[in-house]
Structure formats: C-alpha cells, structure tokens
C-alpha cells in the first residue's frame, strides 16, 4: 500500500512539473507582458530596464531554474502588472471560487445521486423516464450556452437574479446551476446504468433470498457496489469542474481566481499565470489521489492488491 502511494505521489509531482514547464515556455513564446501593459509602446531602454527588473532578460533555462528555486522556498514572485505578491492576489479571490466549487459539488452529489437512483428504481414509470430526460438535457448543453440562457430568463426577462458579481448568495444560484448541471446529469446517468447492472447481479438475489428488507437490499447491497465506479467518474469529472469554473466565472463576472487567471493569460503576467497553473494542476492531482484512496476504502478488492 505504501509503495503504491509513493509511486502515485512521484507520478503526481512529475505531472505538475511537466504542466509547469509547458506553461512556462508557451507563455514566453506568446509574448512579453510589457507589450500588453503599455500599449503605446516602449523604448528599447525602457523595455530592457523592465525586463531586468523582473529577470526576463536572462535565457529561459536560467529563468526556469531560478523560478524552481524560488518556489521551492515558497516564494511565487510578484505580479508584473500589479506589482504585488502573486499569492496575495489569489488569496483575496479564492473565497468566491471555493464557495462556487463547494456548492457545485454539493449540488452534484445531492441532486445527481438521488436522480440516478430514482431513474434506476423507477425505470418502468413516467418518473424514471422524466428523470433521465432532464439528465439528458443537462448533459447535452454546454456551460456557456446554459449560462447565457439562464441570464436571459432570470436576469433579463424576469429580473429575479443578479447576473454579475459574487457578493451575495443570490449571485451564486445561476453559476452553481451552470457549473453543476452537466455533472449532475453525468452522475445520474452513470449511477442509473450501474444500478441496473448491479440489481441483476447474483448477490442482490442472495440478499433478497435472505429476507432482508428491500431498503437494505437497495441501500446496503446494491448502492454500495454501484457507487464504486461512480466515484471514479466523479474524480474524472472534477477536472471538468476546474476548467468549467473558469468559463462560468468569466460569464458571470465573478471576483474569483478565474478572473485573475484569465487576466494573467491576456497580459502575459508570467508569475500569476504560472502560479495559477501550478495551483490548478495540484488541485486536480490531489483530488485524483483522494479518489484513489477513497476507492480503496469502498472496494476491498483494491485495498489488498495495491
């Protein structure tokens, strides 16, 4: 088990390193921050002075090595555009982002799982068919389209919900719906399929032959087995949640990390961009790692063979 975890950990570090390297090079190929910051243009001397101030005058490999040294000491540098520590920028913006992610995840679990379960258990009735119909629509509509439709209906025509900003809980309703709709649908559809598979398994028949109440047959024997692959899917879909949150935050003009990250891309604010990439990559890696760990908890067959 320990060797398994160590191997996973090593691969995770490699992944983050590779992502950082690609970002580092790609950002520098695509342009210099000062061309975007000062759009009236700079003289040769001004440009050279700024480059020197932020260490951009040195060759890329040297920059990369000294950057690695910096972040090893926990120093992620200063924003070129705002001249403030990168970590402060993100720390100020992380609140709304975390709240949106947590709400979306909660909505996914709290709506997606019951929806999938209902669809499986009531598959012969109108209710089950309706549940799958709703899920299918949620699955098929992309984030940006759903966001615009919601804004049109609830902000523009009905004027019920604010469409810009992240100050009150009201501001979170439409972004949460937008971000979680696809996930809810995916989880519901997946759980339904798994449940239907599990319900026809021999061990469910055994559970019934034991005379267990149907609630136990479903809740204890069937759902636990059906959830194992669903956990994997949740983990995979989390990556979609990360990238989706960037789009959703932009559409709803959230004061979150998405805005800072997108801004850093537009301005080629290297330190901000790099930190964002590291943070996103780490989040994905850590979540996938947790999913693996959780998998071992729910499925004894994984636990022993690791």
């Amino acid at each position: 088990m320990l060797r398994y975890l160590a191997g996973k950990g090593f691969r995770s570090v490699l992944t983050v390193f590779a992502v950082l390297l690609i970002t580092f090079v790609a950002a520098r190929i695509s342009g210099n921050p000062f061309q975007f910051l000062y759009d009236d243009g700079l003289t040769q001397e001004e440009q050279a002075a700024l480059d020197q101030e932020f260490g951009l005058d040195r060759p890329w490999p040297a920059q990369f090595v000294s950057y690695l040294g910096q972040i090893a000491r926990g120093n992620f540098g200063r924003s070129i555009a705002q001249r403030r520590p990168v970590v402060h920028l993100y720390a100020e913006a992380i609140g709304p982002t975390l709240r949106l992610a947590a709400l979306s995840f909660l909505a996914t679990v709290a709506i997606g799982l019951p929806l999938g379960l209902t669809a499986a258990l009531a598959r012969h009735s109108a209710l089950g068919v309706a549940a799958m119909g709703v899920a299918f629509v949620g699955y098929a509509v992309p984030h940006f389209l759903l966001a615009i439709i919601l804004i049109l209906i609830f902000s523009f025509y009905l004027n019920w919900l604010p469409s810009i900003g992240s100050e009150t809980w009201w501001h979170f309703i439409m972004p949460t719906i937008t971000l979680s709709a696809g996930l809810i649908a995916a989880i519901a559809r997946y759980l339904r399929g798994e449940m239907l598979g599990v319900l026809s398994q021999d061990f469910v028949r055994t559970a019934r032959a034991k005379g267990l109440p149907e609630s136990m047959v479903i809740g204890k024997h069937a759902v636990r087995n059906a959830l194992i692959p669903v956990i994997t899917v949740l983990g995979l879909k989390f990556n979609g949640l990360v990238s989706g949150s960037l789009i959703v935050e932009t559409v709803f003009s959230f004061q979150g990390v998405g805005q800072i990250f997108i801004g850093s891309v537009q301005l080629r604010d290297y330190p901000v961009l790099q930190f964002g990439v590291i943070a996103f990559a780490l989040t994905v890696v850590v979540v996938n790692f947790l999913v693996d760990a959780l998998y071992a908890v729910v499925d004894p067959r994984v636990r022993r063979s690791g």
Binding site: H124, L199, S200, Q201, D202, F203, V204, R205, T206, A207, R208, A209, K210, G211, L212, P213, E214, M216, V217, K220, H221, R224, N225, I228, V298, D299, P300, R301, R304
Partner: protein, 337 residues
C-alpha cells in the same frame, strides 16, 4: 413418515408474459416435501425447476426479476407453530419475513452470489440481526459460530475476509452458512455443486448431508445430475417442460423408472463402474428440450420419446397414474401397459 408434510405444492403454475407470448414455465405441479426429508427435483435446464424454487421463496415479482410472472395454485407451508398457511396468500412483507428465516436458499454460482464489498461475517450477521433481532456484537459472534459449523477453518479470521479472498468451495460453504443461519425448516438448494469441481462437490454434498442430519430440516435439492440424486435424495420428482412426469422414492425410481424420460435421464448418467471401453456408449436423450413458447400438444415429451404412439401421445396430456408406495407417473403408453 407419519409427520404431516412441511410443504405441499398443489397445482402450482407459473406463467410469464413475454413480448413473444405467454410461457407456461410451470404447469400444475403437485408434490409434498415431508419433514426431515430430502426431495430431489430433477430435470433439464428450462424444465421449470428453478422457477418452482423461486415461487416457493417468493422471489418471483420481487424487484425487477419476474415482474411479468403470474403464479397460481397453492403452496401450503407448515410454519414453526404447526399451522399450515398458503404462501401464495401472504403479502410481500410476510413472505419476506419467511425468507431466510424459515426457508433458506443456496444458489448455483458461489463465485457471484456473495456481495464483493462486504465481509463474509457481515453477510451472515446481517441476517441474524434482521430475523433474530440480535445486536451487532451478538450477531458477529454468532456468524463466526456459523462459519465453524460449515467446516471453515479459523472462522474468526475468515469472518473478516472478503469473498474474493476465498475459493469457490469456501464461498459455497459461506452461502450454506447464510442459508442455514436461522435454522430454516426448509432449505432449497438450486444446483449448489454444478459450478464446483468434483472433489469440492463431494465435500459440499457431505456437508449438506451432515447439516441435514443434525438439524432435521427438509431439503428441496434441485439438480439435473442423477449421480447426486442417488447419493442424497429420499424422494425424487422428475420434471419435463414444466410438468411433472414422475415421482417416487429414490430407491424405486432407480430400480424401475416408469416414465421413458426418467429412463433416458438415468441412461445418460456416466457410470464409473462400467469398463472403460463402454464409457463411450453412455446413452444420450435424442433431440433437444422444447421451445417454452410452443410446447408440444399432448405429452410434452412425445416428440423425443421412442415409445410414443401417434394419435395417443400427441392428443391430450397424460394424467398421473398412481402406484403403491407413493409412486406416480404421467405416461399414456406405460399406463396402459
């Protein structure tokens, strides 16, 4: 056998309505299972023997499986209080409470019949909590005792194991422990040894014999293997295409089968006591089992029967002919012989 029978099947019929038509999977089957008796229910696959087992268990129409099943007739069951009740008149909740407590069942596939994510101890213990009202600790301790009873070594450690850590034979022992956990009056064993290799098969049969002797429960043993019938059964019921064709004590049936189908089945048993050069001469029943959507008219066996007489066997279904010693068979030709 003076004690009244534990279970009396009377005209039990099960129909399935499918997209292709109605399947009469079980057609007016009547026989008794006595107290402390092992009855073997014998037939080819598709003969309706597993459907009878599920009808007795009340598993038809539970959950998704058998939603389209219609059961009629009577299943008179003598409960622990000695009063006979027709199982088919009970509601779903009453039947559930009988399952696992008064009627236990062992299935054919030990590899898949246990829940992969629960320890085997828990899979026995939960049953004791539900039916006997034991506490968590009591039920766990009792589960270990049950594992010991079915011959599992180091039962306390084994109770913490998961099914995938056990062999097929061990899993079948666990399934027997589950079926026996509440000391049922009737144990239904649906081909419990078919998926196991021969040496393990013998061990499992020996275990069932021992448990039966100790608890004096009744057993309905479903099989297509007359070798097992000879080893285990007191009485035999032979089923063909959903109908009973013959019934009698195991001794009588082996000594003098009356129905041509029973004869054919007995001829198809490989005999180890015959010289090796005759092994190739094992008799095989000609033809295949009929399509359940279109069973032949008259005697359902007549298209495969070497004794069939046109105008007689393809006319109306043969009635049961009763003989001395509770023997019965359904054959036009032999009844008139």
């Amino acid at each position: 056998m003076t004690a009244p029978p534990l279970l009396q099947l009377r005209d039990l019929s099960v129909d399935f309505s499918t997209d292709m038509g109605i399947v009469h999977a079980v057609d007016r089957v009547s026989f008794d299972i006595g107290t402390d008796e092992i009855v073997a229910l014998v037939g080819e696959s598709g003969s309706g023997k597993s459907v009878i087992a599920q009808a007795i268990m009340g598993l038809l129409g539970v959950g998704g499986a058998g939603r389209n099943a219609r059961t009629s007739g009577q299943l008179r069951f003598r409960g622990r209080d000695g009063a006979a009740i027709d199982l088919l008149t009970l509601d779903a909740e009453e039947r559930r409470r009988l399952r696992g407590r008064d009627i236990g069942m062992v299935f054919q596939e030990p590899m898949t019949a246990l829940n992969p994510v629960l320890t085997v101890g828990e899979q026995i213990a939960e049953l004791l909590r539900v039916h006997a009202g034991l506490t968590r600790a009591q039920a766990a301790a009792e589960a270990v005792a049950r594992l010991a009873e079915v011959g599992i070594a180091a039962p306390a450690e084994r109770a913490k194991s998961y099914p995938h850590q056990m062999s097929g034979g061990m899993r079948q022992r666990v399934l027997i422990a589950i079926a026996m956990a509440c000391q049922p009056l009737l144990l239904i064993a649906d081909e419990p040894t078919t998926a196991l290799d021969v040496t393990v098969q013998a061990q499992i049969l020996e275990l069932m014999r021992t448990l039966k002797r100790r608890t004096r429960m009744s057993v309905l043993f479903i099989t297509h293997d007359f070798g097992i019938v000879a080893e285990l059964a007191d009485r035999v019921v032979v089923l063909y295409a959903g109908r009973m064709v013959e019934e009698g004590s195991a001794t009588d049936i082996f000594a003098s089968p009356r129905h041509p189908y029973t004869e054919g089945l007995l001829g198809a048993v490989p005999r180890l006591d015959l010289a090796s050069d005759t092994i190739g001469a094992v008799a095989i029943l000609p033809g295949t089992a009929p399509d359940p959507l279109a069973f032949p008219a008259g005697c359902r066996f007549h298209p495969r029967c070497t004794h069939a007489r046109p105008g007689l066997c393809d006319g109306k279904a043969p009635a049961m002919t009763a003989l001395a010693g509770a023997r019965r068979f359904a054959c036009h030709v032999r009844a008139s012989a």
